[in-house]
Point group: C2
Chain length 120, copies 2
């Protein structure tokens, strides 16, 4: 492509998109589920559970960490990962806020006493 256009959108739009992007791979969804079940987890445990090579899992963990969805701390020769609940709840509520706002707008313009859609 010629030039990146992502910066032409609002920060909130970019934040939501970045959050969604971090969740946009089944391996990363699976990692989050494992972290939730075990509360905390070292890389090797996740590698055993996923059908991916160690280096690939490490890369997915790095992406989740960069996006702020998980935290990782060095524990001797290991790395211990946890879900960053604060960030997760923040993005979850932002997502719900967008969704709720959309629903309200939809009800206002297309409710029982509102106009009908011309199409769709």
């Amino acid at each position: 492509m010629a030039i990146h256009k992502k910066s032409a959108f609002t920060q909130k739009e970019q934040d939501l998109a970045n959050f969604a992007k971090a969740m946009s791979h089944p391996a990363r969804i699976a990692i989050l589920k494992v972290l939730a079940q075990r509360n905390e987890c070292i890389c090797g445990e996740i590698v055993e559970l996923l059908p991916l090579a160690q280096s690939t899992v490490s890369q997915h963990l790095k992406e989740l960490k960069t996006a702020g969805l998980i935290t990782g701390t060095i524990d001797g020769p290991r790395s211990c990962y946890c879900i960053n609940w604060k960030a997760f709840e923040k993005f979850n509520s932002e997502f719900n806020f967008l969704f709720a706002k959309l629903k309200v707008n939809n009800a206002r313009t297309n409710g029982s006493s509102g106009r009908k859609k011309a199409c769709c």
Copy 2:
């Protein structure tokens, strides 16, 4: 990469990832917001509001439609788009379900009477 590994994960994990993927670009977030505000919208109106070429917007609309987040119907020489509320709510609740499940697990294993995290 050598081979696709996405199919090695569960259907629910793939569904959630696909939904997140559809939301993973600020242009598509912006499109959803426009569709919500106007209830329904033709392609040209969206093109005027976004800093992207017509062909690019059309491509984003196609991705949202393929992911099932919006519907599109032909209206003469125009195409009218709407948010597919049912699919949107379904995925939203699935997302919330995952999040709630994670939160419950976290409270159970790390609540006021539970054990502390060893790291993070």
